[in-house]
Symmetry: C2
Subunit: 476 residues, 2 copies
C-alpha cells in the first residue's frame, strides 16, 4: 500500500511542494495584509541562528550596529533620481498619524540609503571619521504584487549595511569583501549553500548603485535565486545629501559609499536548495536543533534514557532536543522531525535499551542510504555525532554544487539560452554575444541575466571586460 | 579658572542635562519625522547587551521568539473595544500601497495583541497546545505629541511577549513571573536599577487588560519612570478573536492570556537613574566596554603597552577597548569616555611605564573619591579589575536605592501628596484615603498613581485589598 506523501513531490509541482513545506514544517503563515508573513518559532529559530553568525562576521569587518527610523519623509527618496524611480511602485505610504492628516506623507522604509545619508552628512566631518561602517537589523516594506513566503514578501527582515569611505578603491574593496567574505563565506560554510559570485548587468543593478555584486544560487528545480547583494553606490547618494569630509589637504570631498543586504529570503533559499520530498534538510552548523532524541514509547526506563542521552550530548557541545511526547504516536513525531529537517534523530525504545544501542537516523544522508539508519552503541554517540554532523554538512554542499554543475550548459546564442533554461537549469553565454539587446530578448521568455562572471569564473571589474560570460536563468 | 561644564548641570536643569547627555555621549539623534529617533552605535550597543541578557531570561521561561507583521488591518483593532479606544489617538495609518489607495487602511502596529490573537486562534487547538509562549523583538509606532529621546518616541524598539494558558491562575502566575523574575531580576542584577514592583490602578491599566503589573524607578530628579509592564489580559482578546482550546473534558474553552513589554526606554532610564554631571555611568555587567585602556601619548613603548594590557584583560574575560587615537588630545578622549560612562579607565603614559604602574580611574566610584583614581601595578590589573567592576555594579544599585528611600515620604491626604511630590520625590498614600476621586485630583497637579503596593511592600492581588498603599509622583 503506497503511503500518501506528506508533501506534494518536488517532481510533480515544485512551487506547490515549497508551499506545503513552509506550511507543514511550521516555518511561516501568510499575514492578513497582502504579501506579509508571520514567521513561526521554528522559522524564526533559523533566522536567529543566521543573524548570530552573520552579525559576528559583519562586526569582524569593523562595522557597528545602529538603528535608523522606519518612517522616512517622502521627499528624501526623490533626491536620488534612479533610487526613487526604482522604489516608487513598491512604497507603503503613511498619510495619517495621531488622528490627523500629515502635512508631508511619510513612507515606510523600503531600504535606508536616503535616511542614512542624511545622518552620515552630519556625522562625517573629517577624514578621521572615515571609514564609517554601519549595519542595522530591521524590517522593510516593499509592496509585493506576486508574494511568495520568504522569497517575495511585502515586509521582510534583513540586515542592511551602509558605509562611507574616502576613496573609490576603498569602497570598491569593502563591497567586494562583504560579497565574498561576509556573505559568501557565511552561506558556504554555515548554510552549506552553493552559489556563483558575480556582477549584475546595468539593467539588474540596485536603483542608485554604480555596481551591484550578487550571489546566485540554484534551487531544486534548476531556477535561480538571488541570495544577497553588495552595492558600490559611488558618490550618487553623497551628492544627493552632500555627504562630504574634510580631506588632509583641506578640501571638502564627497565620500564613496557601499550598501549591502541579506534577508529572510535566505530561509526560503535554504528550503529550496536543500529540501527534498520528505521536507527540509537543515545544515548542522545552522540547525537550532542538531540532534533530536526521541522516546519511541513512554515507559519509565526509556524516558530516563532519552534525558540521560540528551544531557550527555548537550555536555558534548551538541544542540539537542529531547522528544518525550509519547502521548503523540512515534510515527507522527518522526515524520514531523523529518519535515523540519533536524539533521540527526536518535530513536530509543525498550528493545534498544536491552541491547545497549539506539537507532541513529541521518536526515541528510537519507534513511534509505547505506549508513543512513543504523543501530549504534549508546556510549559511542557523543564521539560519533560531531563527525556525522560535519560529514552531513559537507554532503549538502557537495550535492548542491553537483546539481548546479550538471544543470548548467554552455551555449552561444539567445535561442540556445532560452531552450537550455526552459525546463530549469542555467546557461552560460558570452556577454559579447548577448549584450543589452540579447538581455531584452531573453526577458520576453522570462529569462534574466543573473550575473556576469569572467571566463575563469571570477567577478568582472567591469561590465564590458572582454571575455565576460553571462549566466542566464529563470528565477524566483 | 572654572571649567565650562560639558553638560548642563543636573541641578540647574535636569531635562536639559538629559538632552545634552543623549547628544554628547552619542546615544541618539532626533529623526526627521516628528518623534522618531536614530539610535547611534554607542546607544545601540547598550540595547544589544540588554537584548541578549533579556532574551536568555525570556527563553528560560520556555517562551520562543517569532515575528508577526508590522502592518495590521484597521478592523483588527476595533474588535476589542477598550484596546482601540486606548490606541486610536496614536496610530500611524497606511492608506496607499504599491501606488494605489488601499481598500482597507492598515495601521503600523502600536502593539500586537490583535494580530497575535488572530494566529493563536489557528495554532491553539487542544489543551496539548497550551501554554503557548511567544515573544518577539520588534519596532512599534505610537504617534507622539511630546517626544523625548528614548523616553517617548513615535517609534521605539521593544520585546513584546504574548502567552495563552488554560486557566486564570496559570496566566496570573506567568504575568507575575515575567514581572518579578524576568524584568525585575534583569533590571536589578544587570542594570543595577532600583524600582518598586506594583500594580497599576484601573485608570493606568493597559487598554484591554484586567491587571497591569509595573516596575517604577526613581530618576535623578525624583520623578518616576515606568520601566516595564506585564499584563493579565484575562479573556478579553480571546473573546474578541475566539481563541479557544479543546479541554480534556471535550468542551471548547477560551484561553487566558498575558502580554508584557520592555523597550528602548530602558536606555533613557539608565541615563536618568545612574547619570551624573559628567555623563553616563554604565553598570559593568551591562557595559559593552567595561574597561578602556588609553594611551596618553603616542610613543611606541606606550602604544605597545596599551595593546599588551588590552590583550591581557581580554584574556581575563573583561570587555576591553584600547584607545590609541593619540592624534586626538588625551584630555578630550578622557572626557569622552567619562561622558559615555565606561566603568573603568586604565591610563598609560611614559612615566607609568617607568614605574611599572598605570592610572586606574573608576567612573562609578568617582575620580574625586578615595580610591577613585590611583596608580596600580600593571601586573595587578587582571586580578583587581573583576573585583572593582563588581563593587561598582553594587554601588550603583545602593546609590539608586538610597535616593529613592530618602526622597519618598509617607503622607495621609491628597494635598500633602501634591506638596511632597512638587519638587520631585515620591509620596506613599493609603489607597483607601485616595481612591479614584483622589487620583483625579492629583492628576490636576500632574501627579499620578504610579502603582499600588501592600502595606509591607508586596504586589497586591487586587486593587481594593485593605491596606493598599498608593505610590504617587510626577513622572516621565
Amino acid at each position: 500500500m503506497a503511503k500518501t506523501p506528506v508533501l506534494t513531490p518536488q517532481a510533480d509541482d515544485f512551487p506547490r511542494w515549497y508551499q506545503d513545506l513552509i506550511n507543514k514544517a511550521e516555518l511561516a503563515d501568510n499575514g492578513p495584509v497582502r504579501g506579509t508573513m508571520v514567521i513561526r518559532p521554528y522559522g524564526y529559530g533559523l533566522w536567529e541562528r543566521m543573524q548570530r553568525e552573520m552579525d559576528a562576521r559583519i562586526k569582524e569587518t569593523g562595522a557597528q550596529n545602529a538603528y535608523f527610523p522606519l518612517l522616512i519623509p517622502q521627499s528624501y527618496l526623490t533626491r536620488e533620481a534612479e533610487h526613487v524611480e526604482g522604489f516608487a511602485p513598491e512604497l507603503a505610504v503613511v498619510t495619517h498619524g495621531g488622528g490627523k492628516e500629515l502635512e508631508e506623507p511619510v513612507v515606510v522604509r523600503p531600504t535606508s540609503e536616503t535616511i542614512v545619508n542624511e545622518y552620515f552628512s552630519k556625522w562625517v566631518q573629517s577624514y578621521r571619521d572615515l571609514p564609517l561602517l554601519i549595519n542595522q537589523w530591521a524590517n522593510v516594506v516593499r509592496w509585493e504584487m506576486r508574494p511568495r513566503l520568504f522569497l517575495r514578501t511585502s515586509e521582510f527582515l534583513w540586515q542592511e549595511g551602509h558605509t562611507a569611505h574616502a576613496t573609490y578603491e576603498e569602497a570598491r574593496d569593502f563591497a567586494a569583501r562583504i560579497h565574498r567574505h561576509v556573505y559568501g563565506d557565511f552561506m558556504r560554510d554555515v548554510l552549506a549553500m552553493d552559489f556563483v559570485l558575480g556582477r549584475k548587468t546595468a539593467k539588474e543593478r540596485f536603483a542608485g548603485a554604480i555596481n551591484t555584486l550578487t550571489l546566485e544560487g540554484m534551487m531544486g528545480d534548476g531556477k535561480a535565486l538571488q541570495l544577497g547583494t553588495s552595492h558600490e553606490l559611488g558618490q550618487n547618494f553623497a551628492e544627493a545629501f552632500d555627504t562630504r569630509y574634510l580631506a588632509k589637504d583641506g578640501t571638502r570631498e564627497l565620500v564613496w559609499q557601499t550598501s549591502w543586504g541579506s534577508t529572510t529570503r535566505m530561509i526560503g533559499a535554504l528550503a529550496m536548495m536543500h529540501g527534498d520530498d520528505d521536507g527540509l534538510r537543515v545544515p548542522p552548523r545552522l540547525a537550532p536543533v542538531q540532534v533530536v532524541v526521541l522516546a519511541i514509547k513512554g515507559d519509565d526506563a526509556v524516558l530516563a534514557k532519552v534525558h540521560e542521552i540528551g544531557g550527555a550530548l548537550r555536555a558534548a557541545g551538541i544542540r539537542v532536543q529531547v522528544d518525550d511526547r509519547t502521548d503523540t504516536p512515534f510515527g507522527r513525531r518522526a515524520v514531523d522531525w523529518e519535515l523540519k529537517g533536524v539533521p540527526v534523530r536518535v530513536e530509543v525504545g525498550p528493545r534498544d535499551l536491552a541491547s545497549g544501542t539506539v537507532m541513529l537516523v541521518r536526515r541528510i544522508l537519507g534513511k534509505h542510504s547505506p549508513g543512513g539508519k543504523e543501530p549504534v552503541p549508546v556510549d559511542a554517540l557523543a564521539t560519533l555525532l560531531p563527525t556525522v554532523l560535519e560529514e552531513d554538512q559537507a554532503l549538502l554542499l557537495t550535492q548542491a554544487r553537483a546539481r548546479r554543475e550538471s544543470r548548467t550548459s554552455d551555449v552561444r546564442t539567445v535561442d540556445e539560452a532560452v531552450e537550455a533554461t526552459a525546463a530549469g537549469g542555467w546557461a552560460r553565454v558570452p556577454w559579447a554575444a548577448l549584450g543589452e539587446e540579447g538581455e531584452a530578448r531573453l526577458a520576453e521568455h522570462s529569462v534574466t541575466v543573473r550575473c556576469l562572471v569572467t571566463e575563469d569564473g571570477a567577478v568582472p571589474h567591469a561590465e564590458e571586460t572582454p571575455g565576460n560570460v553571462a549566466l542566464v536563468a529563470r528565477s524566483y
